[in-house]
Symmetry: C2
Subunit: 313 residues, 2 copies
């Protein structure tokens, strides 16, 4: 039992709207999991510890004290503790050097992983929380460009064994607010399954527009397409998605994140990986899909370095 317990760890994925804890063994296999709606925004007065202790109590009972690791938004200003941002270029070692270990009242410790900042970004330093751990999980051994889709999606460059630089695009937020709240897509009826044809039509329009147009004018095509009869209500949401994600790739290309024929990696754990992979191929890119457990792998890699250092110290 002791041997097993030594290799078991708890990894938290505690976001704004949901709480998720994974019990993983030393090779990253998920032994058990618990998921609740107790996202950061639902926790009053900073009472994060009781939520965690309650969720992991059964695992502790079975396996004893287990080290807990947490990356991402739980380590942000609105979370449990505000972790610093390690400046890019950053390695797994520099991330591990900035972890913060806190005792838990129920025994054992929780280790918060830092975020990452790119101080060269304009006009203010760019930031990520959680994606740096996914990048470590993907592996920093091969130079490549990586896109991590999301509410605030990230383009990152891995070079010389480090996360060299990165940039945020607010793609998911624009799509989410417009598809839910806009007049633009008011007539839209969402189909049960994605209409990939409409999606790719939107992405291709953005890719092929030779004018120096931007998102503010491009978006109106959702409405004019509907008014002209070219877009059915069932096509509008995916056409909008194609325009918005296509615009992220158009902007990323203009900013030098890729050029025709490049290979890029797409890393994530949800349907967005498929969405982004399709647009990447439409832009002539070769796509490498990252492991969908990149966050767990990265967390374990950083944990291993931190634990080895603590044992050595």
């Amino acid at each position: 039992m002791t041997t097993i317990s030594m290799t078991l760890r708890i990894i938290l994925d505690w976001g704004t709207t949901s709480f998720r804890a994974l019990l993983v063994d030393g090779s990253g296999h998920v032994v058990d999991r618990v998921e609740t709606a107790e996202g950061i925004q639902s926790v009053a007065d900073g009472a994060f510890a009781p939520v965690l202790e309650r969720a992991i109590a059964p695992w502790r009972k079975a396996h004893g004290r287990l080290p807990v690791y947490a990356a991402g938004m739980i380590g942000s200003r609105n979370g449990w503790v505000e972790m610093p941002y390690v400046p890019a270029p950053a390695t797994a070692e520099s991330l591990a050097a900035a972890v913060r270990i806190m005792p838990l009242s129920g025994g054992g410790t929780i280790t918060f992983l830092p975020g990452l900042t790119d101080r060269a970004a304009m006009p203010y330093p760019d930031v990520m929380r959680g994606e740096e751990t996914q990048l470590v999980g993907l592996g920093l051994g091969t130079d490549t460009t990586v896109v991590l889709p999301g509410t605030h999606s990230k383009w990152a460059r891995i070079e010389k064994g480090a996360i060299a630089r990165f940039q945020t695009f607010v793609t998911g937020e624009i799509f989410g607010t417009l598809s839910k709240h806009s007049f633009l897509a008011k007539a839209a009826t969402k189909p049960d399954t994605p209409d990939w044809s409409a999606f790719l039509r939107g992405a291709a329009f953005i890719r092929d527009d030779t004018r120096e147009a931007g998102l503010l004018s491009h978006l109106f095509a959702v409405r004019t397409g509907w008014l002209s009869g070219a877009l059915k209500p069932t096509e509008m949401t995916d056409y909008l998605s194609g325009i918005v994600v296509g615009s992220e790739f158009r902007e990323a290309r203009a900013l030098g994140w890729f050029k025709d024929g490049d290979t890029i990696a797409v890393v994530g754990d949800d349907d967005l990986v498929d969405v982004y992979g399709r647009v990447a191929m439409a832009y002539g890119l070769t796509v490498v899909m990252g492991p969908d457990d990149a966050a767990v792998r990265g967390c374990l890699a950083i944990a291993a370095i931190a634990e080895a250092r603590d044992q050595a110290g």
Copy 2:
């Protein structure tokens, strides 16, 4: 009485969320007005006539039958009748030629004005409803570029006595949905009066960014500015507004709507005229403010042409 009645007209400004009727004399002076919350979206089963008849009953009692004119969204697919779009280039005469006159059960007629389309737009024909009437009210005698701020703001070119072409930017909708619903501006607290300094900082960042960056990456500055301590919560909303409106000007410049040192007209009847005027000046433009009753003037000009034609016929 008869003489006065002959020159009085009712002009409707019936939008999605509000109903407004103006009683105007022959020179465009507003004699009386009525305003209710009975916007198009609040009217069930297309029962627009009773709403109108009830609102204008007192004026009819006092002045007899009065011709009613209506431009804008009341003549759209979700409105009373779906009016056609006259293709650009369009003059006051070509707009007047496309009006539709319908009898009202309470006596007299309602005349719907057409919209305008630019069939050369990509990827689908661009459209406006109401702004073409404001452009006629501004006057088509002098070649100029005109911006009409709004939920879907319009840039139009007046040339050779006609509205030559135009383009829509969804600026107001992006600002509205992001300021209300986004995570990006979640920490924002809206000040009682606009923070013009924060607004102009946002607009200047967009104007001066020499990279080929676009709105999706620029918008994240609202959050990174706050995280880095450079933006206070009270500054975030106006900084966001500066980024979004500034981006409209950046995109319009890239698309050839203006160049440094140009003179442009700004036409509208609300606070946005001030907002746009400030950004225009920040972009080195000379600004001519249009009359705030451009819609009334344009409606009367088109009405006069239509009425003269009907009397001649």
